[in-house]
């Protein structure tokens, strides 16, 4: 990760050490140290593997959220969309298994359905925001409720379970991997690298920041603001779909509680990573670290019996606030 960060640091270092850029990495290092002190099992390859694999869902969604937030928007529907897309994917695969048999083709169709749904949902959110001239907060608050109730309806309030034969074929996508690195981690890495390239090296990435910084100025600079914002929402929808593709093989089920509060976790990861909630400044690697930190806090608390379980939420809240506070106080000086 470090080599990718260095050039950015070099570009904007003029006033010495930039805590805003390094802050998330320092906080992560502190957490890792804490984890190692709490329990020797923390540094075991299995535990690290588990934590990173778990992070992949929120991490991939958060990479998408980085674009939306950088462009000055917000997407509250991602958790509900993840649940809905998981549900539809399961229903479609279950329906196909009678005709096609449990095999890779069924899963490929399922994956395409999830991707199509993510794309469509992103388009709906994006079009309502740009053509409908509505606040992103309101639009996605609405779609959040819609997707959540659709999955509850589909599952009849219970749980949609994937056909067990299909599940056996699909299972390795979560549990398997190459050279001991699980597929979700690999996909997370690919999404993060792609996100970094798009945000830092393309015109689209710069436009996102420009629009988030000042939409009117961006429009007068001949940027097609509607198209850029729409693309950001579509990118977010696709990221959710990718998360769904690795989520479904884990437990092979979707219910009304699937992906509950993921939107807040994704937003928290983005903000801890140094992206500004009001837009105009985005950090992909920060987001990745933010997502890992959120999972780590949970993991460390589970690995120790020292703190009352009633206080888990307090500890998490304090760590999130302190992490962001440190960056903000450094950022305001610039």
């Amino acid at each position: 990760m470090t080599p990718t960060v260095l050039p950015e640091a070099a570009r904007r270092s003029g006033a010495g050490f930039d805590l805003k850029l390094y802050g998330p990495f320092l906080a992560l290092a502190a957490l890792i140290l804490l984890g190692a002190l709490v329990n020797p099992a923390f540094l075991s390859p299995t535990n690290i593997g588990n934590v990173l694999t778990r992070t992949a869902f929120i991490g991939i969604i958060a990479v998408g959220a980085t674009f939306v937030i950088t462009a000055g928007g917000i997407d509250l529907s991602v958790g509900s969309l993840a649940a809905f897309a998981s549900g539809v994917m399961i229903v479609v695969m279950n329906a196909l298994v009678a005709g096609m048999g449990p095999g890779v083709p069924v899963i490929l169709v399922g994956v395409l359905v999830a991707l199509g749904l993510g794309l469509a949902a992103g388009l709906v959110n994006g079009l309502l925001v740009t053509k409908g001239r509505m606040e992103a907060f309101i639009v996605t608050l609405g779609t959040m409720g819609i997707f959540r109730s659709l999955v509850t309806y589909m599952a009849d309030g219970g749980t949609l379970s994937l056909n067990s034969a299909v599940r056996n074929v699909y299972r390795p996508v979560y549990y398997g991997g190459v050279f001991g690195v699980s597929f979700p981690i690999l996909m997370f890495a690919v999404v993060a690298v792609a996100g970094a390239v798009i945000l830092y090296r393309t015109r689209f990435g710069r436009y996102c920041a420009a629009i988030g910084s000042n939409e009117d100025v961006a429009r007068y600079s001949a940027i097609d603001t509607d198209r850029v914002k729409l693309a950001a929402f579509v990118l977010q929808g696709l990221c959710v779909a990718l998360a769904v593709v690795i989520y479904v093989p884990r437990l092979g089920s979707a219910s009304a509680t699937t992906g509950l509060l993921w939107e807040l976790e994704a937003i928290a990861a983005v903000i801890i990573g140094g992206t500004m909630l009001k837009g105009g400044y985005g950090r992909i690697w920060g987001t990745v670290v933010g997502a890992v930190m959120l999972t780590l806090i949970d993991n460390i608390l589970n690995l120790t019996g020292a703190i009352s379980v009633y206080l888990n939420g307090t500890i998490q809240g304090v760590i999130i606030i302190v992490a962001v506070l440190l960056q903000r106080s450094a950022g305001s000086r610039r």
Partner: protein
Amino acid sequence: MKFGLALVAALAAGLVLAPSGASAQQKIKMGVSIPAATHGWAGGLNWHAQQAEKKLEKQYPNLDVVIVTARDVGRQANDIEDLVSVRNIDALVILPFESAPMTDPVRAVKQAGKFVTVVDRGLTDPSIQDLYVAGNNPEMGQVSGRFIKERLGGKGDIVVLRGIPTVIDNQRVDGFMKEIEGTQIKVLGMQYANWNRDDGFKVMQDFLARFPKIDAVWAQDDDIALGVIEAVKQAKREKEMFILGGAGMKDMIKRVMDKDTLVPADVLYPPSMIAEAMEITAKHLVEKAPIKKEYIIEATLVTPENAAKYYYPDSPF
């Protein structure tokens, strides 16, 4: 223009509502207020409530059952207000979201002269209810504790995955701990898994990383247990331990029926209790049948021998 539209909408709504309001006058009305189907057990609850509605309306032609579902305490309070003021119910069957905050709203229903049946979670003032139908949470913990104790021969290392921090959860855990008191069973760790599959998976992964030897898992709930099973399988430690869930989810009952070694038993906490409450209430309303004030549903241990009796393949839970 906008006002015009609103007026038309209001008129249309009035037209649709008016006839049903008139015909409902002669009927006996029973309002049922339950939490929305936002997790497995509540999904089962909703399904059983709907089945009971169909059955009862067929059985008693002059009975009208109205089911309302709420996502939180505040909405549930609104719901029962509407049931009394708009729907003009004669009896209320309520499964309160939480005991304390729902006590006063239900008291108001009682004071309006309605028959009140409370299900599962008791109100803080039991004198309000005419009828109480509930599962037995302390007993559920005890039955679970007893099974694990006997299966382990009184000694071993276990982990506990709890639900959401609530009175119900505390009652279950207290019952469980009392049962294993004085044995050589050691509770290595206890964490909240929020009656949720994903959390069960994560918490169990961490327990597996933390403890090299686990003899049994008390997951307390079947949704949690399903997450636990996946984590144990991933760590390839299925031979080492067994898992005891609870509630009576069809997947788990099926596993018990099929003699899955990982899931030797399940403890009932059936979502069908709402149907029983509705049936007893309806019988009393329509036939004026005398009733007991309390029906407590036992926390039955489901084993391969009796599992078929508790298997509902059509239920969503």
